[in-house]
């Protein structure tokens, strides 16, 4: 009741302030208001939804969508843009947390099985989506006069983007529900491995598109790919080592140092054309596996820092969901979404059997692979900016798919984690570890 009343007051204050300000008097300073409003109202919404068994993440998204520019417009477009600025930092922090949860000694023996499962899922999903898009191409509202080669190239890019997963949402959901166990570990490994495959596939597909449309293919493809993957890992590992050194020998103002590390990875990664997600993952891996911190310094800092970042990240995602795209091609999007989900389910089932994954875990893993978010959108924006005519069609379809998967994905994955009995296990493991070390 107190939360509901607080939510009502917060929304009323936000609405009154946004209505009272006079935009004609100059640019409005929206950053702090957007941040604070999202933090309080989205967290309350998440807490309320959790009571009915839905993930908190869905509450944050729902809040962003309802208060965003397409519905209530309390979070106006400039405010939504301000919130998006947190995204780079959020992706880095989320990936850093994922790295901290990956113990190499524990994962290494299972890597071949994970690789087989990821390979099967990617191959089956990609091949089936390629065939499906080729068949329905005439109904996709693409420009006329495309050659067969050009159609092939467009289908290749579209299939790559639609087949992608969201490591960020998966990791965030595991972190937010404090989940630990075989399903969390398997899903996390699959989405990260799939992300690496996606970078390679997307680069190749774009080279094919450039060739098909008569543009100059990018020289030094191998160098670019190597830089994307190995450069990101090397940079992240170096930053992780520095941070571990700081924790060991200075250990003061740990949250501030964590924030600075994440900002460094986000900003430098952007400037050096690295993959911030991979770099942050590597940083977390180094801290966890090479120089684990003593005591609870880092755990406390992350517990304090992670939730606000997750809340703002998902509220921003909700506020920027392009509902108009969903309204325009909702029918096609729902059909493609259903096909994609079916393919992931079938591929995960077959892949789990092939890789020898425990059937109980293998049966649930597909539910962690439905989400799509920032990575998918980022790839789509690259396509749309380079090829505005047909790229816009791809963008509309993918944006509508993201809107659907942003809501369906977290609900499915949380349900899977609950069925696997892994929610809250991260804290139990940490407590057990603490007991043992004592």
């Amino acid at each position: 009741m107190r939360r509901l009343l607080a939510l009502a007051i917060t929304v009323a204050v936000g609405w009154l302030v946004v209505s009272a300000a006079d935009p004609s008097s100059g640019p409005l300073r929206t950053g702090a208001l957007a941040l604070g409003f999202a933090l309080i109202a989205a967290t309350v919404t998440g807490a309320l939804l959790e009571r009915v068994g839905l993930p908190r993440v869905t509450g944050y998204l729902l809040f962003g969508m309802l208060c965003g520019p397409y519905i209530a417009n309390i979070i106006t477009r400039p405010m939504a843009r301000e919130l998006q600025l947190v995204n780079g930092l959020a992706v880095v922090l989320i990936a850093f947390i994922a790295g901290l949860e990956m113990n190499a000694g524990r994962l290494w023996p299972r890597l071949p099985a994970f690789l087989r499962l990821t390979g099967t899922i990617m191959a089956v999903t990609y091949a089936a989506l390629f065939g499906a898009f080729w068949l329905v191409f005439p109904w996709l509202d693409m420009p006329e006069g495309l050659t067969a080669l050009q159609r092939l190239a467009i289908v290749a890019v579209l299939s790559t983007v639609v087949a992608s997963f969201s490591p960020t949402v998966t990791i965030a959901l595991i972190a937010e529900s404090r989940a630990a166990g075989p399903l969390s570990e398997l899903t996390l490994s699959v989405v990260i491995l799939a992300d690496l495959v996606l970078i390679v596939l997307f680069t190749l597909a774009m080279q094919f598109v450039r060739f098909a449309f008569g543009g100059a293919a990018e020289a030094g493809l191998l160098v670019t790919l190597s830089w994307d993957i190995f450069g990101s890992f090397a940079f992240g590992a170096a930053v992780g080592a520095l941070y571990a050194f700081y924790l060991r020998h200075i250990g003061r103002e740990v949250p501030l140092a964590l924030l600075t590390t994440c900002v460094l990875i986000a900003v430098a990664g952007d400037a050096l054309h690295l993959e911030p997600l991979l770099a942050a993952l590597a940083a977390g891996l180094v801290v966890e596996n090479i120089a684990p911190p003593k005591g609870d310094l880092l755990k406390d800092a992350i517990e304090r820092g992670a939730l606000p970042v997750l809340v703002v990240f998902f509220a921003a995602a909700g506020a920027s969901l392009q509902l108009d795209a969903l309204a325009r091609i909702g029918g096609i999007a729902v059909a493609v979404s259903a096909l994609r989900m079916f393919l992931i389910w079938a591929a995960a089932k077959a892949g789990s059997a092939y890789a020898g994954i425990d059937p109980d875990t293998g049966r649930l893993v597909w539910m962690g692979l439905v989400s799509q978010a920032g990575v998918t959108l980022g790839l789509t924006l690259i396509v749309a900016s380079e090829y505005p005519t047909w790229g816009a069609v791809v963008q509309t379809l993918v944006v509508a798919l993201i809107a659907l998967h942003q809501f369906a994905g977290p609900v499915l994955f949380r349900s899977a984690l609950a069925r696997a009995g892994e929610i809250g296990k991260m804290d139990e493991e940490a407590d057990d570890g603490g007991e043992e070390s004592r």
């Binding site: 007051i9 204050v13 300073r29 950053g31 702090a32 208001l33 933090l39 020998h249 949250p255």
Partner: protein, 367 residues
Amino acid sequence: VTREPWARATARLRTSAALGLLPATAPVMVLVPLGMLLGRAGGGFIGEDALARLDAVTSIALATLGVFIGAAAGSKHDGGRRLAIASSMEALITIASVSAAIYVLLEIWNVPIPLPYALAATALGICASASAAPPVAPGHEGARAIAARVADLDDVVPIVLGGLVIATAGSLGSHPGWGVAATALVGLAVGGTGWLLFDASQGAERNVYVLGSLAVLGGCAAYLDGSPLLAGMAAGWLWALTPGDADRIVRAQLAKVQHPLVVLLLVIAGASLEVTLAGVWLLAPYVVFRLAGKLIGGYVASRIASGIAPADLGAYLVRPGVIGIAFSLNLAQVAPEGAGALVFAVSIGAVASELLTLFVIPVPHSA
């Protein structure tokens, strides 16, 4: 105990001292010059873009400082009413002496600043009235505690007046009274939200509510071109007065973010400094009349609260703290073209006032 070389080296590097977080080294002395080196007046590492992005952080930091002041004003102490009156009188005397002197000098010198002289002079007076209690030798805790209390309470009147100045200088200039009322009401409403949420939550969720409340306080005020200090003070005051643990929870949470925010605020102030003729002109009178105002105001306050406050109260209040700089940054947010000279005078004046505390030393005695 033999210590490793690394441990010895890093112990020296313990960033506290370097960041000015030890009481022995006032943050202003280290961080404002550091910000200058990194900002416009120095290497340009913190450029216009970065400063624009940090605008939201500034608003949140201002609101946080306001909450501290409001919570201190709302908490009950022995002799509270007399101390509150004495502190307010001390602040008003400092504001009046600095504002009047600066106004006359601005008129005489015809200093080129794109703000009405009366507004600029009042703003400088408000900045000058802020003070932080200095550390004193052990054994004189009574005088120090009273001086610290006065240093907290003497910010209340300037923040209310500052709300009016900010509203006048910003887009609410045609209805400054409405601006102050709206900002205070927003502060109370957000305070009410926090009161409902803090007790009902715990752990990381509670952290989010506290951080969110600070951001909404700073954000609403910034959106309305108002004073985040005033909004924060209203909320802090409400949390101190309402039943429950809101006050204690907020203090505990703020203790964790206080240092990073103060560091950021002072570095931002340093980074945004531009050396202008008007700023240099204003600096010396600002420092001199601030010192005079503090000593006279402190004396009058000690008479009003005689028996509680030490007779040389003014000497304890020379240390400027960060509120003055915070207010000048707030003015720069709403009137960016006009406030540059004021930010310079107040920031460098704060460094100079810190240096003055080497010479203006309270006489050791108990209250």
